[in-house]
Symmetry: C2
Subunit: 410 residues, 2 copies
């Protein structure tokens, strides 16, 4: 199994070795994502599954069953730019591996099992995440069609460039009845499992972000001729906010029961040339906690700080809320069954929250859903050095196989 | 004359009104700069001058003379992105206006007068400034040929796209003997003339910059899953430097005889997406003063601060010196004659330094050179709101005409 996992992981990542200094770039609805999905199709068909592509570009590899009530597992194959080869891919790989393991032990599912490969999970290309799983859950907001990537390509055009028809994307929705449960496996992208001496994580809730765009309007001027005392430098006005967000998040998180994180993750300065004092500076801020009130409190402190920076630096600051989603709680019963399944195999589990969004949060809106984390080295993710060991992937396969066997029945 | 100035200013700027919300974008060696230069040629020929283009793309409009020793005046027509319509254009316009005024009063120059329009003065496109005047002075470093703009076009290719041959650009150099003196008129891009109740500025020296590129290497990670205490956020490490540069420059400037300015003018964050902690952050810093030792001292303080930020935030900071040019002193005798010429017309002058670089700094390396500033409203420059009044432009014409008449002789 481990050799199969290693070879299949490389194949899904379209490489011959996972050592890739520039990492992996498979943006949503790109040729690279399509190529990786095509490998998924080959692997699934080799395992004897029948593969179907839906109207949103998701792939479903189905195995047997005597009912119409699917037990579903899977994740995604797209990545951020120069990301890692495990975020998403590990879940798809372990789901396929679990089917392979069950087949090898002669298991015949009573309810059909489907391994899903969701399209375009990452927000890296369009700033909008989980397009595929939103479509399946019937919660895709079609008004995103004109959102564009940095090359000017709209979501609609990107979707259609893969041979789909945007006007029928809503037909990808699955009914409540069709799916019994959904279990996603994902790399942790943190170090809590390891820090607590466990082998895998059971997730209770997913912390959805508040995202703010802070835009500072100062006054451009020549760097050589605008005396220091006469400037309205937008970047100088914004700089203390970067420090504030980092320090305040750490403080709030330490004071609270649930962790909180906040990040100034994007930054754009205009005109961004050497001899002009920045006239505009724009920052994107990402705030997360399973505790929605704590998240709100952090956002409020940022807004308050902006008001004080406006006065101090004589600039105008506009704050736009891009995203404000309440956190998602996963199904308690299914989560408990997954935990017991893992423990029955001898693995030590750690109950935790997810700071990152995943496809499971959309599935959880409609179906009982659970999320299993496997460790990744040093918590490094969205980075070429992202890594999970073959041992941890193999444990993931065993846990998923155990859960699928229970949920599908024989 | 004022109507001619107004109409010609619009023509050189390729517009029918100077009210342009997005300002003017004529980058060096672009189609827009070429179009503006072609208007210059038409205007100069209409005034009866004969126009020649040299191997660097500079235009020279020559008027009469019984010797081979040219009195030269002029500036440039390229702009920064979304810049103003007076930076450069005012000097070209007033030089043409001075010739027109001298012609109208029946003056016949003994030494030929040339109005020059230098190519690609701004560093906005390639990060390298004054390509045209460097070529004329014979101080162009040809190794810049592969420096590229943000679309990947090299300086060599840009020059050649205007019909020139890069291999012969050095032939644009003029001999010491050919040019008697050079006088540039430019907008002040500051408010010192107005602050001192004067009508024009006489520049003693040009403050050339030290430019640093500061590159912070931290560690990317998922914004939702990397706890605050475990981050190496490159942007958080860089933010205090922005504040430091601004505060320290103001402090040093207040303590010193000569003013100093320092600016974090460019900023690039990687990967610059919402859900990734910044792994890299890069800042461009521009430091200027006519006092070279003061400039050096500011640069040293920045380097020292970076070392302390490295330790505090557990990141690596690399500092590269992009530019370190000593300041240029202009010709004392010519400057004194220009000052007297202006005063003889009843204008009050203010002696000052230039915080910005101009073509004159290259000409000054080889020929006696002077720089005249006219006021611009609120000191706003490199911005769509850049503005000099017709009265100030007209004063510039009168001063230049007086100086050219004296220098060329009859």
């Amino acid at each position: 199994m481990k050799e199969w996992l290693s070879t299949t992981l490389e194949a899904l990542n379209l490489v011959e070795t996972m050592e890739q200094p520039d990492g992996f770039t498979r943006l949503g609805y790109s040729e690279e994502e399509t190529a990786s999905m095509s490998v998924f199709r080959d692997v699934a068909e080799t395992l004897g599954l029948s593969v179907r592509r839906d109207q949103a570009g998701n792939l479903f590899a189905r195995w047997g069953g005597k009912t119409d009530h699917v037990v579903m597992t899977g994740s995604h194959l797209d990545t951020v730019e120069n990301g890692g080869g495990y975020d998403g891919a590990a879940g798809v790989l372990c789901s396929l591996g679990a089917v392979k393991a069950l087949k090898e032990r002669g298991f015949k599912p009573h309810n059909p099992i489907e391994v899903v490969c969701f399209a375009s999970e990452e927000s890296a290309r369009f700033g909008v995440s989980t397009l595929g799983s939103k479509s399946v859950a019937g919660i895709l907001d079609k008004s995103v069609e004109n959102v564009r990537d940095r090359h000017g390509v709209s979501i609609k055009d990107a979707v259609e460039s893969t041979g789909l028809d945007w006007s029928s994307i809503e037909e990808a929705e699955r009914t409540k009845d069709e799916i019994l449960s959904f279990i996603e496996l994902h790399i942790e992208q943190g170090t809590q499992i390891e820090d607590h001496g466990a082998q895998f994580g059971i997730v209770r809730g997913v912390a959805c972000p508040i995202r703010l765009k802070v835009k500072v309007e100062g006054m451009a001027g020549h760097t050589g001729t605008t005396p220091m005392g006469k400037r309205k430098d937008a970047l100088v006005a914004l700089a203390p906010l970067i420090t504030f967000v980092s320090q305040e998040a750490e403080k709030l998180s330490n004071q609270s029961q649930k962790p909180l994180v906040a990040t100034v993750s994007t930054m754009n300065v205009k005109p961004n040339v050497m001899n002009v004092v920045p006239g505009q500076a724009e920052a994107g801020i990402d705030i997360r906690s399973v505790d929605d009130a704590l998240k709100r409190s952090m956002a409020d402190k940022i807004i308050e700080k902006c008001r004080s920076l406006e006065n101090e630096f004589n600039v105008t600051i506009n704050i736009e809320t891009l995203v404000d989603n309440p956190s998602i709680l996963l199904d308690e019963e299914l989560t408990a069954r997954v935990k017991r399944a893992g423990e029955s195999l001898g693995y030590k589990t750690f109950e935790m929250d997810s700071g990152a969004g995943h496809d499971v949060m959309n599935m959880a809106v409609k179906w009982p859903s659970a999320l299993v984390f496997i460790p990744c080295e040093k918590g490094i993710s969205h980075h070429p050095k992202e890594y999970s060991s073959l041992e941890d992937l193999h444990a993931g396969v065993e846990i998923l196989a155990e859960v699928l066997q229970q949920e599908a029945g024989e």
